[in-house]
Symmetry: C3
Subunit: 312 residues, 3 copies
Amino acid sequence: MSNKIDAPINDIVTAIVASYRQDEYLIKVDAKNQISKESIIDILERLRSLIYIGFFTQKPLKFDSIEYYVGEQVEDLAYNLQKQIRLALRHRNPEGDWAKEAAWVTRQFLSRLPAIRSILATDVEASYEGDPAASDKDEIILSYPGIHAITVNRLAHELYLLGVPLIPRMMTEHAHSLTGIDIHPGATIGHHFFIDHGTGLVIGETTVIGNYVKIYQGVTLGALSTRGGHLLDGVKRHPTIESHVTIYAGASILGGSTIIGEGVVIGSNAFITTSIPERTKVSVKNTDLRLMTDKSQADAEFLQDEFWDYSI
Amino acid sequence: MSNKIDAPINDIVTAIVASYRQDEYLIKVDAKNQISKESIIDILERLRSLIYIGFFTQKPLKFDSIEYYVGEQVEDLAYNLQKQIRLALRHRNPEGDWAKEAAWVTRQFLSRLPAIRSILATDVEASYEGDPAASDKDEIILSYPGIHAITVNRLAHELYLLGVPLIPRMMTEHAHSLTGIDIHPGATIGHHFFIDHGTGLVIGETTVIGNYVKIYQGVTLGALSTRGGHLLDGVKRHPTIESHVTIYAGASILGGSTIIGEGVVIGSNAFITTSIPERTKVSVKNTDLRLMTDKSQADAEFLQDEFWDYSI
Amino acid sequence: MSNKIDAPINDIVTAIVASYRQDEYLIKVDAKNQISKESIIDILERLRSLIYIGFFTQKPLKFDSIEYYVGEQVEDLAYNLQKQIRLALRHRNPEGDWAKEAAWVTRQFLSRLPAIRSILATDVEASYEGDPAASDKDEIILSYPGIHAITVNRLAHELYLLGVPLIPRMMTEHAHSLTGIDIHPGATIGHHFFIDHGTGLVIGETTVIGNYVKIYQGVTLGALSTRGGHLLDGVKRHPTIESHVTIYAGASILGGSTIIGEGVVIGSNAFITTSIPERTKVSVKNTDLRLMTDKSQADAEFLQDEFWDYSI
């Protein structure tokens, strides 16, 4: 024990260290280097800078010399990503070195970047077409949380497909923290995807989404029940959304065999657990409202600051 | 190509650079300096420090000498803000220099700060009056997300009114990221505005809100449909909320001609697309609940971890 | 006035300083050191590193020498926390020194860390058992927002119980900002608590939650009305949730005398203001949907991009 620690703190330190002998899965000691969250976030920032080139870099870039800049960035990125992937693979299986596998996965991933850029371009386009409040595409790239979330998701999804543990979810949870949009890296999402506002949106692991789909804040694409726990690993638990579907705010669509057909429009707050045929519009029929317009009574309650009587 | 890049990475770099010749609106090269998100965030932090003077500065301030501190802060702020506004104006119209316009706009904006402080003081007051959990006004200023969001919104709204492109939305989306509260800088909001909890709140661009309005988490003040896309630019698409209205959690109020009259109380989860006369209370009438209290059956299901049968 | 400030800025500075003579509760000058938000965040990071030892530290730790690391961390932590607690106590009552009280509270708090670790271990376990998408417990500790939120809450709750002003709420609002999960530090929460997704979850100050409770995104455990304002200080305004209860997404449970009995399952979007007996399943019965399947009409509307007619 360091003699810098005075007596009263000493017993606290001893008690904390003693607690490390319990709840073993909360400790990560006597292990080699751990995956670094900071590193994962830095990798995401660099990837975003490469995709939306010039938008998130402070110094002005020239097209003539851009290969030098990109080369340097990709080199750093490849080095860091490969290191984290190696740690993630070793995390899943501590036997073995995984350096070669990590190098191969990193290479595969980076070679997908141009294709990821192309599909993200369709998402930016869909965001511009779908939102009257968007003044131009630059505003969307610079500030829209939906574009941030789908950018991170498309990157994380590639790593997920390549079988990388831990990192894809760390990436999407970082985006979730910044945007309130929670898309599992396993979800499969078509082109021209538009999320408006987005806070509270949840898209589960086995969700499949077609092209030209538009989703608002507070929507859940979820499982009907997760009471089966890990028996449900790998089972399709989340819905399929076909192309040209619009899902308004607060709607929930649940279940692995629920299919929302092409061109369907789902109204706000709809709660759906069965398939909907194509080109159907679905709205909540009877959320009847109770209006209390007896002014003398309402006034009295208002002025007396009385209890607000919910009708349920 | 830098010779630091080894062969395997080289072709990835070439492919990425080639991809920059497509999807041109994802690239920002051969351009002059770009608007800096970091700079916008720094400007917001400095504005907040000036408004709630002493709350967000580490060194203790003395009233006698406060002009020196404020002078230095405003000087730095004016310099940085003017630069970003100039970049934003040039972004909208690359012809011209915009230095003079940027200087004028910056000056107009900064001269509104005392008025912005005064109205924010009413918001802090309303937050204190409305929330039994608030221990004092300092707690509100230091920690309430609603105050953070409305502070940023009132600042961004002034820049929006002054016709500054991009920056107002970058500011409010930064606040959205930190608070889950998404208020478009175009929204017009009266004094004594109180947001409680706030996560998931969406307030659209053309919303007009009176005085003493109180709004809870998950509320949407939105458009009925955005399928008109950019044909709807400038059209009033979002509701008008008159003074002394309370809107409980999860309610949606949609449409540009929807007017919620003075003193109305909107109950949780109400979905409203028509105007409501003044001093009315609106609640959702018939979200009838199905209670399954057959204990033997419920027990069996509970113990067997069976599928939970949603009633829909 | 500094002569570095040119004339046009000078009058703006004067106006801002003049505004400090109004709205006095927005200013914090002529005061001693203020509580530092940065310091509170740093304290939270250090606490998290100690609890999930090795997960959030960059250098690999060895069990043999871990006391040195923990000792150094606890020493720094105790110093900083004691300082902030002293500032918080002086904030509430500027008379007196509070150094001794702050030292005692800090010591009490730090000695609770092993117990806090034990209960958080049950939360990690419950998260793993409840979520088929969780690949292992490390993924949960490294990336799940629910675990982040409950970790901060259990720490803040101890400080709340010890009567520390301001700091507990600053801690939970920081977690709210990162996770979208808003748990008041006053809430009492049992072991094996599992939050899935979590965005938009609100748990009020006087809520009491049993063991093995599972809550999804968008749930509100709230007050029926807060129109009584500070007359309601200390009154139980939020519900009691007994053990083994599951609350699905978007449900609201309101009121201080509302008790949700053991083993109850609350379906999505249920709105509950009365007690529910044990082992009952509650679901929303009649959110009937209106399906418009007349294809010719639906097609026409779809193609013409017409107004979407909400059924309300």
